[in-house]
């Protein structure tokens, strides 16, 4: 299925519900649906804030493909900015001592919640972030 929504904070909530319903339809177990909702929400926020640079009037596209035991989701923004992970993950202690920004946990959370996550190659200048989730924890 495909979903397209306005690139504005708040609308990721609708995307979360749509993708969760899709996952439930495919037989995904409840804990994994929660993991997916949180990971997808973070990926959409990255698209809105970073990929689309918070610019008004843009959109985020989410495409979902279901298989027997897993699903694949891609989150596409309109590529105002190419963004990749910074590479270093700041611990909470670094954040508490003021040595790292408080934000920036989204990609770390995604990586821990789904089975595969990362940017796919872009030929069109847009960012494409791919998530793979197996219905039962592997």
């Amino acid at each position: 299925m495909e979903l397209s929504f306005p690139s504005e904070l708040g609308y990721e909530k609708v995307a979360r519900e749509a993708v969760a319903a899709f996952a439930r339809r495919l037989g995904c177990d409840r804990e994994r649906v929660e993991d997916l909702k949180t990971a997808l929400g973070e990926a959409c926020i990255n698209a809105i804030e970073h990929g689309n640079g918070r610019a008004p009037g843009l959109r985020v596209d989410v495409s979902c493909i279901g298989a027997d035991d897993h699903l694949e989701i891609e989150v596409h923004d309109q590529g105002l900015k190419r963004y990749e992970s910074s590479g270093t993950i700041a611990s909470i202690d670094l954040k508490l001592s003021g040595l790292a920004p408080l934000r920036g946990m989204g990609l770390m959370m995604i990586a821990q919640l789904v089975d595969e996550a990362g940017f796919t190659e872009s030929v069109d200048g847009r960012n494409h972030f791919r998530l793979v989730l197996y219905f039962r924890k592997i």
Partner: protein, 120 residues
């Protein structure tokens, strides 16, 4: 159009300042959560409980706000607890390291008992 969905209120029970959080905890929650915390701290609270209500949506921006609260709690020598989180979000809190700085209780009653026990 879909922004503000959080209501924050404060109350006191058993020597604990309770901050009730009903709704979504996202970047839009910053002012409300920070002012509730400032308010109870101003009233002299030593034990602070963030009482969630099985919230459906807590994202990394919301968690960043809570880490900011922890910074202040450490500075003010207070003790912080959280209650009412779903199993999923308890997992998330542990994942980001918040469990090291805030005790995770299942519900408010357990939290009140926990604060009392730790104080003795």
């Amino acid at each position: 159009m879909l922004e503000d969905e959080l209501s924050v209120s404060t109350r006191e029970r058993g020597g604990v300042a309770i901050i009730d959080l009903v709704g979504d905890v996202t970047t839009f929650a910053e002012e409300k959560i920070n002012s509730a915390y400032t308010q109870v701290t101003g009233q002299g609270a030593k034990h602070v409980l963030l009482n969630f209500r099985q919230n459906d949506y807590i994202n990394s921006a919301g968690i960043a706000i809570l880490i900011g609260i922890v910074t202040e709690v450490n500075r003010n020598n207070q003790k912080l607890g959280v209650s009412g989180l779903s199993q999923h979000f308890q997992k998330i809190f542990r994942m980001v390291g918040l469990a090291q700085y805030a005790d995770i209780y299942q519900d408010e009653d357990e939290a009140i008992k926990g604060f009392a026990a730790a104080a003795t």
